[in-house]
């Protein structure tokens, strides 16, 4: 996890396009400038970044389902629960499942766990649009390779 670069997942560990599910993992860094303010002497992974972790996990699922043709953008959150504190050094296991494939939007159920215990979950709505330019798509493809996106699972070449 590179919080300062908004890279909130480290690796995709499973992507099942038939089941429309994904699993990712991320290790919360032991040190970050963010923890200097959140909070002094009591560092906690900010809840908004847990939400972003779930959103990024969900986003990669959608990118896989749309074969790198479309980009999901966070649009709405429902039933968000931040159930317990997440601390520096914790290993997050995130997962998501497509709840609904709409026209130009998708709804995903996502959750995060630490040591098997659920720490956060949410229902997330995304707007899904064609990539605004080839450079953006290329960036996402390169980024996908860095986080072990299983290219063999999609028709993408």
């Amino acid at each position: 996890m590179r919080i300062e670069y908004f890279q909130l997942i480290d690796r995709i560990t499973a992507l099942n396009l038939a089941d429309k599910t994904i699993r990712t993992e991320a290790i919360v860094p032991k040190t970050s400038t963010i923890f200097e303010g959140h909070f002094p002497g009591y560092p906690l992974m900010p809840g908004v970044l847990l939400i972003e972790s779930m959103a990024q996990t969900s986003g990669w699922l959608i990118i896989g389902l749309t074969n790198f043709e479309r980009m999901p953008f966070l649009a709405a959150l429902k039933d968000v629960k931040l159930r317990t504190f997440v601390s520096p050094g914790d290993e997050l296991a995130l997962s998501a499942r497509l709840e609904h494939d709409g026209s130009g939007f998708a709804v995903v159920e996502a959750e995060g766990r630490v040591k098997g215990k659920i720490v956060c979950n949410a229902t997330i709505t995304f707007r899904i649009v064609p990539f605004p330019n080839p450079q953006f798509r290329n960036f996402m493809q390169e980024f996908a390779a860095r986080i072990a996106f299983p290219m063999e699972t999609v028709g993408h070449v």
Binding site: G104, F105, V107, T125
Partner: protein
């Protein structure tokens, strides 16, 4: 159409916190009811689930943007319900 309208109106009332009795077949979802595009995603989600269809929102938006259709054709509720009925019928055909 009446049962379709009731379902759609109930979805709109619940999703957007709009008094049910203000939602009429001739209401325009955007112009009369003030529903924005994000709220309409919630409505589309609920309609898709309720009727087992996929409202072609992208196609409709494109047609409106291209000047090939008016928003009234899709977003006046009685017109929307007619299109929902058509999608349901097409699904069962």
């Amino acid at each position: 159409m009446s049962s379709t309208f009731d379902t759609v109106a109930n979805i709109i009332a619940e999703t957007c916190d709009i008094p049910r009795d203000t939602i009429k077949p001739e209401s325009h979802a955007i112009d009369d009811l003030g529903i924005d595009s994000l709220d309409f995603l919630d409505i589309a989600f609920a309609i898709d689930k309720a009727f087992g269809i996929k409202l072609p929102l992208e196609q409709w938006t494109q047609e409106v943007n291209d000047g090939k259709a008016t928003t009234e054709q899709y977003f006046v509720l009685q017109n929307l319900c007619t299109r929902i009925d058509g999608l349901v019928a097409a699904k069962g055909a």
